[in-house]
C-alpha cells in the first residue's frame, strides 16, 4: 500500500535540510576519526574530502572527488549529515556521491573544475546541492541550476577571512540594491546580474536569498565565525581551520559556541582563550591569480 501523496526530492525537502543546518558549523574532515571528533564537538554536518583546502593548495595538481571507500567510511562513522565535494560540472562524480548515500553534494571550486562552461544540472538529482558564490548573480545562477543552498566562497585554505567578508558584503549589497529597485528596473537588473528574472523578482520582493546562505573560505578562530554571522550569513563552513590547528577538538567546540552566541562578546571571549596554535594564514596578495580558488565557477 503506497501513499500517493508521498514525494521525495522536492525543493522543500532539499532546501529544508539546509534550514535545519542554520546557526551551525559544517566541518571539513578527511577521515572517519576526524568525522567523529567533529560530531562530538557539535558540528551540524561534516564535509568529506580527500584533502583539506590548505593541503590541496600545498600539493598542487588536479584535485578530485574523494575515494568512495573514504566517503563510505565517513557516512558509516557519524549520525549527522555527510556532505561531499564533486568537481564543478562533473555530474558523474555527483551520481557516484548520490549512490554512496551522502546527504548533500558540494559542487566545489576547491576541487579542479571538470567543465569550464557548464555546472551540473542539479535538478536531475534527488540529493540536494550546495554551491559557492561571490555575489548575488552567481548565487542566483546556481539556484537556477537547482542548488538548494549557497555558500559565499571566500578563499579556501588560507586561514584569512578577508575574502569571505568581501563576498558576504557583496551578496548583502546586491540584495539591498535589488530590493530598492522599482518593478520595471528588475528586467535590466536580471540582465546585469546574468540571472533569471523570476529569481531576481523573488529577491526584490523578499529582500533575501531564496535559499540558506552559509559563509566559507578562510574562517579560522571563533571570532571569524561570529563575524560572518553578524554580517548576515546563516551558518559557517570551516575547512582547514580546525584540523590544521594545534587542538582540533577544543577549537571545533569553540567555533560551534561562537557561532550560536555570535552576538555575545563575553562568550566569544571565553571560548577563544587558550586554543593553542592556529593554522598558519596566507595573505591573498601572495597567491598567484591562477591559484585563487574563488575564480573557479562563473
Amino acid at each position: 500500500m503506497s501513499d500517493v501523496s508521498k514525494e521525495t526530492g522536492t525543493p522543500r525537502v532539499k532546501t529544508g535540510l539546509a534550514e535545519m543546518l542554520k546557526g551551525g558549523v559544517i566541518m571539513d574532515v578527511v577521515t572517519a576519526e576526524q568525522a567523529r571528533i567533529a560530531e562530538d564537538a557539535g558540528a551540524v554536518a561534516v564535509m568529506s574530502l580527500e584533502r583539506v583546502p590548505a593541503d590541496i593548495r600545498a600539493a598542487g595538481g588536479v584535485a578530485r572527488m574523494a575515494d568512495p571507500t573514504k566517503v563510505a567510511e565517513i557516512v558509516d562513522a557519524v549520525s549527522i549529515p555527510v556532505m561531499a565535494k564533486c568537481r564543478i560540472g562533473h555530474f558523474v562524480e555527483a551520481q557516484v556521491l548520490q549512490t554512496l548515500g551522502v546527504d548533500y553534494i558540494d559542487e566545489s571550486e576547491v576541487l579542479t573544475p571538470a567543465d569550464e562552461q557548464y555546472h551540473v544540472n542539479k535538478w536531475d538529482f534527488t540529493v540536494p546541492f550546495v554551491c559557492g558564490a561571490r555575489d548575488l548573480g552567481e548565487a542566483l545562477r546556481r539556484i537556477a541550476e537547482g542548488a538548494s543552498m549557497v555558500r559565499t566562497k571566500g578563499e579556501p585554505g588560507t586561514g584569512n577571512v578577508v575574502e569571505a567578508v568581501r563576498h558576504m558584503r557583496t551578496m548583502t549589497d546586491g540584495i539591498a540594491w535589488v530590493a530598492g529597485l522599482r518593478s520595471e528596473q528588475l528586467f535590466d537588473a536580471a540582465k546585469q546580474l546574468g540571472a533569471p528574472y523570476e529569481l531576481v523578482r523573488w529577491v526584490a520582493e523578499n529582500k533575501k536569498l531564496p535559499v540558506v546562505n552559509f559563509s566559507a573560505g578562510g574562517i579560522a578562530p571563533p571570532a571569524d565565525a561570529a563575524l560572518m554571522m553578524q554580517l548576515g550569513c546563516d551558518g559557517v563552513f570551516v575547512g582547514s581551520g580546525i584540523f590544521k590547528s594545534g587542538d582540533p577538538e577544543k577549537r571545533a567546540r569553540a567555533i560551534v559556541e561562537a557561532t550560536t552566541h555570535y552576538e555575545d562578546a563575553d562568550i566569544i571571549a571565553k571560548v577563544s582563550r587558550d586554543l593553542g596554535e592556529a593554522m598558519v594564514g596566507i595573505n591573498i596578495s601572495e597567491i598567484p591569480d591562477a591559484e585563487r580558488m574563488q575564480e573557479r565557477g562563473w
Binding site: E19, G24, S79, P81, D103
Partner: protein
Amino acid sequence: MRIGVLALQGAFREHMMMLEALGIESSAIRLPSQLADLSGLIIPGGESTAIAKLMVAYGFYEPIRQHHAAGLAVWGTCAGAILVAKDILDAVPGQESLALMDITVRRNAFGRQVDSFEADLDFAHLAERFRGVFIRAPWIEMAAPDVEVLATHDGRAVAARQGTLLATAFHPELTGDPRVHRYFAEEIVGS
C-alpha cells in the same frame, strides 16, 4: 501568552515567524535565564546532537525540566522531538535527552536525505489533512498508554501528545500552514 523558541541551532526563526503570523508573542532563547515568564517552549528542528551539546554546555536541562514541572508546555519538532523523548534509539554514545515525554524515538528512522519526503497526514483535531515535511526524520517507536498519537505515516507514529507535551517528527514551520502551531498555542499552552 509568550512562547519561547530554543535558538541554539536549527530552524528557530521559522517557528518565530509562524507564531508572529498568529499574533503570538515569541522570543529566542539562547540562555537558561531567558526561560522565565514563558507559557510555552518550542525546541526546533536542527541537528539533535549539536543542540544537545549546546544545551549541556549552557546548563539547559535542569531549568527546562523544572519549568516544565511548574507548567511550561513544551513542543519538540524533529530534533526537538528526540530531545523531549524519554528514550532515544540509534543515539550517539552519551547522547542525553530532556526525558520529559514517555515516548521512545528512533533517530533518522526514515533514512538519509535522499529518503526525506513530504506526505499528507491525518492529524487528530485538525479538520483537513496536513502536509508533513520529513527531513532525515525520526519516528515514535513506542509510547506510554497515556500518550495520544496524533498522526501516523506508513503505520509509524509521527506526532503525539502527553499532557502539556507535544512531539512532531515533521516540520510544520516549513509549510506556511499555521494549524499545528495554533493547536499547540490554543489547546496545549492555553489549556
